[in-house]
Symmetry: C2
Subunit: 355 residues, 2 copies
Amino acid sequence: MVELSERQKFILTLVIHEYIRTAQPVGSQALVARYNLTISSATVRNEMAVLTEYGLLRQPHTSAGRVPTEEGYRYFVSRLIRATDLPDTTRRTISHQFYQMRHDVEQWVRLAASVLAHQSRAASLVTPPHPEKARLKHLELIATRGRQVLMVLVMVGGEVRQRILTLNEPVAQELLSQSADRLTQLFQGQDVEGIRARTSQLSGLDADVIAWVIEDMIEANSEVAGEVYLDGLTNVLAEPEFTGSEEARRALRILEERSLLQDLAARTVMSNTVGGIQVLIGGEGTWDELRPWSIVLGSYGAPGLATGTLGVLGPLRMSYGRAISTVRFLSGLLSDLVAETLFDEPLNYKGENLS
Amino acid sequence: MVELSERQKFILTLVIHEYIRTAQPVGSQALVARYNLTISSATVRNEMAVLTEYGLLRQPHTSAGRVPTEEGYRYFVSRLIRATDLPDTTRRTISHQFYQMRHDVEQWVRLAASVLAHQSRAASLVTPPHPEKARLKHLELIATRGRQVLMVLVMVGGEVRQRILTLNEPVAQELLSQSADRLTQLFQGQDVEGIRARTSQLSGLDADVIAWVIEDMIEANSEVAGEVYLDGLTNVLAEPEFTGSEEARRALRILEERSLLQDLAARTVMSNTVGGIQVLIGGEGTWDELRPWSIVLGSYGAPGLATGTLGVLGPLRMSYGRAISTVRFLSGLLSDLVAETLFDEPLNYKGENLS
DNA sequence: GTTTAGCACTCGAAGGGCGAGAGTGCTAAA
DNA sequence: TTTAGCACTCTCGCCCTTCGAGTGCTAAAC
């Protein structure tokens, strides 16, 4: 990437700011007027011509103002953006809200999505914490009807999975409970491999049940994120680039398409990384449907144990600074909560968040 | 409501059909031409004038065609609509899909929302089955970290609730399990009142835990529907009445506003009822945000045990026939699944659905 | 060499005018 | 009671013009 002069960087930054603010192509005179620049519009025009040459800006048509290209945004995000933190009072307020409802993981996730959407004024996406490798904590079998049995699987880290089994023949609750206790004793803390290694010892009901358990744990491992919580869809529809009906529909299809979001959440290697936060601009060439979108992604959780993803989805001209700082803050906050509440781990971020 | 002549009813029906099809005001000549009517356009015009007088049709402006009013739709839905069933092959296909995944309630709900959205070509809403009065089936306590304990509550009917408790002092898993077993033994099958009546016998850990259990069960009772599953949002944005950006935004706000949907799901008494299905047209005067919407609602489940809601949301000119028949069919199908899988109940609808 | 004033040129957005077409209500005849 | 005929109305789409913001280029100023 070409090296820019300080003045060129400055002008690129101003253009991007102004375009984010107004959603209109930015002209040289307008820029000089609005920011009281000490240089003339002709100079700005010359610099803009250079930036256009470099592919960082473009003109929608001759004799229009300039608009940042994807490259321009990338340059801005990776080299020019100033990492600002959320104001102290805001952080305190948000922390407070989370610590109010520390008893329900689902509520954290919902709240995180809501806060993220509000702060970034875009759409947000949050997945619940999900074990990287499922380890069994507890197994419960509950008779419902005839051969139908409700199996409740609690994983280390608190994830609860349930499914309905159909046994070959009815079994009394008494026997089910005994089997569940035996299996819990035997396999507590084990992952799929650990369990598989010792299934040969089992027989009868125990063997049947453990086969279901293994199947479910494999499913749990292969899932990257079960549910994806969304919020702020309306924010994004309010943006002028999505007001046309066709664009709006396409936008919503993206947000409704769970598999895409899951792919997204699964994505770990990305082109631009800012302090653990990944910024995906315009689909980065590979995701065609995401052309008009930018995505700021972060992850949270206890590394190696359970992690989740959170992110902001907005138009290319979204407010990257705000999105990044909010994602970063929430990522730390949720990591604290997970570590503190679900695992017996030291708190990594607490000091940073609350001080 | 005024009594209409057969011909007037016929014309009203045609106008509504045509308007649903084209989303354009319907003119007299167009109607005659399209349906090969044996009466002249002048006659149709006269009848239309009468229907307009009655408030069933209206003109967007003088010298435009006619559009149904809310009253017109209501008349149509309550008195003119022909209840058609889904084609046999469709029903079979759908049933098959459901019986494929009988092991996971969440998946039923998700599938129901998807099918409903596809069949009705509008947005759909489905809530999971929720006990009308929570009765305890099973209690489990799992130590996580220090004083933190994960409480898993299984209700009769299979609903699982989890929350994180903070005890006064750390307690070993051994003791927690014993307490959980004791309490399960003692209170199995009981509702909140039943449990409350005998709490005085308890002390120590058991007393603390049961207080949490009661609190959670009260919460369960007060919730009408926990999660609301949506699908088909894009269908609705494709409709011409929601293409403008302002309308689209408002539409999405409705669908994003969970509380409104929950209110809706809670609503049991409605003005127009068709075979157990409730049709809410244009907010029925009381819900202002719903002015441009119609909603077809049904419920399912095992009465007195656990019920859920499912519905279709679309523009006023949605295809009521299709929506109603799909809701009715799925309502029966889900009721079967719930009764068959979650409760030991005879199957009420099975014959109807699969024959 | 860099910056800036001046200027001709370009192009989209906004507004006005116009004709076409669909639809109505009314009247009078069938 | 129904229908043909007719004058009238109103929207929609189209074209045209104007307006103004913005550009690139050139030559002068710093």
